[in-house]
Amino acid sequence: MQQKFTDVLTAGLWKRIPPFRLVLGLCPSLAVTMSAENGLGMGLATAFVVTLSNGAISSLRNVIPAKVRIASYIVVIATLVSIVEILMKAFFFPLSEQLGIYIPLIVVNCIVLGRAEAFASKNPPFISMVDGFSVGVGYAISLTLIGSLREIFGAGTWFGHLVFGEAFEPMSFLVSAPGAFMTIGTLLALQNLFSRWRGEKFIQG
């Protein structure tokens, strides 16, 4: 049990860290990572949803008939997402404006549904929540990383603070759409390189 707990907890942080190991949830990774702050906010919102939805779905897993499995999961997830939406609006309004429709779109983020299906529907609530938490936090870390890179090099700031001083001419294409694709592409390549260097058998292609 202890072993499994640690395994599950750490899995999301490296073994299946989205969106790199688990190439899922790319849309928000691309869309909202203009800055480290946005990335972190989005990541935490997703982490919140995935943790609670894993818990809820795991508790309900024996009640829900197979035919309406996905539909029920979607309803549960959508509810949680709506709550997050309201919470963000009430307490972090500027952030919620920045993230815009990507907050409600957490509903269709494959990570949430994916973890619900792959893990929560087969495991008891507590461990499912641990799994959701782990993957969610992993996702938040990734998004913050992507956001940081794009913000530092694309705008010369990090969480709004100047990094390079005034003289730095930021590569502003990084904060727009093309930069998003390229940053993640490059990070993915680095991760592949690392996996290859470590000699892992399964390489995500």
């Binding site: 790319l26 849309c27 309803v75 759409a177 093309p178 592409g185 292609g205």
Partner: protein, 190 residues
């Protein structure tokens, strides 16, 4: 004239995939072959219009008049999911050819953020009916366009000498970035 602006804006300038980043998971998934990309594009257009119409109706005639906008996310996803599943079931039975060409992509669309995104954008912009139809259709066409163009690139990529670590999703994303760069050029049309 406004409708033309709206159409151009939705298809090119604010391309739902390359500028709004919606629907990327299937974008990377089904763009490996031109054939699948075409099927997916057609399915997205079909479902987007259908889903947008239904969600628009619910949003305009139920949610907004009764002040239930906070239920928007929940109702939209529920409607889209059921609608897609229904269409799939019917299509599978009615026409196997149509199902193979189009229907197999339907489940993929349930969780496609592009479809949901279009519905949400329409609700946010509070477009009237005709504009809604044009917007939904042209956004989806923009998605299809990007998908098909990208599939062409990836077919070519398959036989290119790509460094080992960059192979697969990695190079695909970077290529998509370059395409997005090209689509940025459309912004000059504003």
């Amino acid at each position: 004239m406004d409708l033309v602006y709206l159409a151009i804006s939705a298809t090119f300038v604010n391309n739902i995939l390359l500028a709004q980043y919606l629907g990327n998971c299937p974008f990377l998934g089904v763009s490996k072959k031109l054939e699948t990309a075409l099927g997916m594009a057609a399915a997205v257009i079909f479902v987007s219009v259908l889903a947008a119409t239904f969600t628009w109706m619910v949003s305009t005639y139920v949610l907004r008049p009764y002040g239930l906008e906070f239920l928007q996310t929940l109702t939209f996803i529920l409607i889209i999911a059921s609608l897609v599943q229904l269409v799939e079931i019917i299509m599978k039975k009615m026409s196997r050819t149509l199902y193979n060409a189009l229907g197999v992509y339907l489940p993929l669309i349930t969780t496609n953020c592009a479809v949901m995104g279009i519905a949400l954008l329409i609700a946010k912009k509070q477009l009237p009916f005709i504009e809604m139809l044009v917007f939904a259709c042209t956004s989806a066409v923009g998605y299809g366009l990007a998908l098909v163009l990208f599939a062409g690139h990836r077919e070519r990529l398959q036989i290119s000498a790509v460094p080992e670590s960059l192979q697969g999703t990695s190079i695909a994303l970077i290529t998509a970035g370059i395409m997005a760069l090209a689509f940025m050029g459309f912004k000059g049309m504003a």
